[in-house]
């Protein structure tokens, strides 16, 4: 009887463990599914390379049109409506919220539309180009283009007109090029600062520090402790120390990429020190002995043999750091700022990808789709970095 009871208990506990672990798995998968479902429709080359802010141009045309017109290029897709009178190709498209709009996909290089007078600024010109959105158009024959009627009707009106009283076009926005560039700058600057310091600290700890050295032990404890400190505290450090510091030595005034990189360098330093030290630990002592027995100095041994053999480990430290830099947001809100920019200047505020998400979600009209699209990009980059770290680690353990 007791036997059956034990079996039943065992069965119940197994079921329980199964349920609990599937909850965990479900939550993780749900996050990915949510982000992909929300953001995947926005993923495009334009998202990666485009400006965040859209600009609206207001222009007109009162010149004459060449009677020969402009030939339709054969490269244009069948879904493109083309006006041979003006040399412009239009296409119907849907924006992130599912609303239809008319996209300019082609403008003939000789078309007068490539250089129109700007209504807003006297003497300036406006260039109508592919990638812009067609807004309201009032032709000189008093016909008006309505975006809701689609590209085909717009082209008919273009073909029937020989002058434009008012032409509104908008460059497409919501691109994240600026934040990508900021992120790349931060990765580069941070590694330039943190990598030499981290690698040399690890070399000191493992190769030069005397055994049982109090200083080395204290340094190790500090490194361990720093890995557990919430990054917002590093952000405060950035705001209190690095922003004033960089403001004095550069043209910066407030948060900038240098103060951001310094803050991030402090954050990734423990990662670099500890994983470089781990990789030095697995270098066989035979290499050091062989080198010293050949009359090499300690420094030659360290740099030509030990560090060279530790390169895979250092590389994985770099990749881990890059992952950390891409994922960091809290510290950068202070150190670099939250202003989304299209044109990145090192001494000015801008946002990294992660802070870009924060910025668009903290605004009055949160944009879930764009935030999810950026999340997908970050997830993919971090995923690829992790894969590379695994591969490098496997190669390291095999060597």
């Amino acid at each position: 009887m007791n036997h059956a009871k034990r079996h039943r208990k065992d069965f119940m506990i197994r079921i329980g463990i199964g349920i609990v672990s599937s909850i965990g798995l479900f939550v993780l998968i749900a996050i990915f599914a949510f982000v992909f479902q929300k953001g995947s429709s926005l993923l495009s080359w334009q998202l990666l390379t485009g400006d965040y802010y859209s600009t609206t141009y207001d222009s007109y045309y009162d010149g004459t049109l060449p009677s020969a017109g402009f030939e339709r290029p054969s490269s244009l897709d069948d879904s493109v409506y083309y006006s041979s009178v003006w040399g412009i190709g239009l296409q119907d498209d849907l924006d992130a919220e599912g609303k239809p709009y008319i996209l300019i996909v082609y403008v003939d290089p000789n078309s007068p539309l490539t250089s129109l007078p700007d209504k807003n600024t006297e003497g300036e010109t406006v260039q109508i180009a592919s990638g812009q959105t067609l807004g309201k158009v009032i032709f000189s024959n008093r016909t008006i283009v309505l975006t809701s009627n689609g590209a085909q009707s717009a082209i008919q009106l273009f073909d029937g007109a020989d002058g434009i009283l008012d032409l509104l076009t908008t460059t497409r926005g919501k691109g994240i090029r600026g934040s990508i560039i900021t992120t790349l700058y931060l990765i580069g600057l941070t590694l330039v600062i943190a990598l030499p310091i981290g690698v040399f600290s690890a070399v000191y700890l493992h190769e030069y520090a005397p055994k049982n050295s109090k200083l080395a032990e204290a340094l190790r404890r500090l490194v361990e402790m720093l890995t557990g400190v919430p990054s917002i505290i590093f952000g405060l450090l950035g705001a209190a120390v690095f922003i004033p510091f960089t403001s004095t030595i550069t043209a910066a005034d407030g948060g900038n990429l240098f103060s951001g990189a310094l803050t991030l360098a402090v954050i990734v330093l423990p990662v670099i020190i500890s994983s470089t030290e781990e990789s030095l630990k697995v270098i066989p002592d035979e290499y050091r002995q062989a080198s010293l027995a050949l009359g090499a100095t300690k420094t030659q041994t360290t740099f030509r043999v030990v560090l060279k053999a530790a390169i895979p480990g250092i590389l994985s430290a770099v990749l881990l750091s890059v992952g950390r830099i891409i994922g960091e947001s809290a510290a950068l809100i202070y150190a670099v700022g939250t202003a989304i920019k299209d044109h990145i200047i090192l001494t000015e505020r801008s946002t990294s990808l992660a802070v870009h998400i924060w910025s668009i979600m903290a605004g009055e009209t949160p944009n879930f789709e764009l935030a999810s699209a950026i999340s997908i990009i970050i997830l993919i980059v971090v995923f690829v970095l992790n894969l590379i770290v695994k591969l490098v680690a496997r190669r390291l353990s095999r060597a």
Partner: protein, 253 residues
């Protein structure tokens, strides 16, 4: 002092922390001969070998009294340049330990550390060293491959080539064949016979037959003491000490 002696060891006592590993060792290592150090495990033969090029310095708590004179100079004197010593006294380890770099770079490592940068000079040194180590014909077409891609025996000859590339006077070998198969061992033994024309060789070996085959002189150690040191044929034919006889006839060890 005997002018033919490269090393002269006088009353050498060596401690690892509290434990004494060598007791009052005094001996002379003759020039251009093979001297074998034999004895059971833990008898101090490797420790003595490592005190000749001061590799014991790397071990924490190692303390030395007495003298090791190389070419008349006390290598443990405060002003003695240990880097200089190790360029003159090369070493081959028990386990083949090529660096994780190409065959060429392995052999060129020592000369490069000495500041030789000229590519032609380096190529000459590498070729000569590999030839002298009887490895050149086997690897001449793949000098750029990793040293770790070679077989164990080839790796050990690469390590010998690496030591030869420094153009040393003495080569210390710490059980160089113990990790190798009999064929690779035979090749290394042949090589040692060739090398003794140009170099003084001190070899630690577990294998008494090997000592008998390749050495001119043999020193027998037991528990940190030098029991007997003489011509190899005398040691193996008519040992003076009972303990030596017991060891070489296989009664212990």
């Amino acid at each position: 002092m005997n002018a033919r002696a490269v090393f002269q060891i006088n009353d050498l006592n060596l401690h690892y922390g509290e434990k004494q590993a060598l007791f009052d060792i005094s001996m002379e290592i003759p020039r251009n001969q093979v001297t074998a150090l034999i004895g059971p495990s833990g008898c101090g033969k490797s420790t003595l070998l490592r005190s000749l090029n001061r590799m014991n310095d790397l071990i924490d708590g190692c303390h030395i009294d007495g003298q090791v004179r190389y070419e008349e100079e006390d290598v443990y004197a405060k002003t003695y340049d240990v880097i200089e010593l190790r360029t003159k006294v090369g070493m081959v380890f028990q386990k083949p330990n090529p660096f994780p770099m190409s065959i060429f770079d392995n052999v060129a490592y020592g000369p490069r550390c000495q500041g030789i940068k000229d590519k032609k000079v380096l190529a000459d040194i590498v070729k000569k060293a590999l030839e002298n180590a009887a490895l050149y014909d086997e690897v001449k077409d793949r000098l750029k491959e990793s040293g770790n891609a070679l077989s164990g025996g080839q790796q050990q000859r690469l390590c010998i080539a690496r030591a030869i590339a420094m153009n040393p006077d003495v080569i210390l070998m710490d059980e160089p064949t113990s990790a190798l198969d009999p064929i690779a061992t035979a090749k290394i033994e042949d090589l040692i016979q060739d090398l003794k024309k140009d170099y003084t060789i001190v070899i630690v070996t577990h294998n008494m037959q090997q000592a008998a085959r390749i050495s001119d002189n043999t020193a027998f150690f037991l528990m940190g003491e030098l029991v007997e040191f003489d011509k190899t044929d005398l040691i193996f034919s008519q040992p003076r000490d009972q303990r030596t006889e017991d060891y070489i006839t296989g009664r212990f060890g």
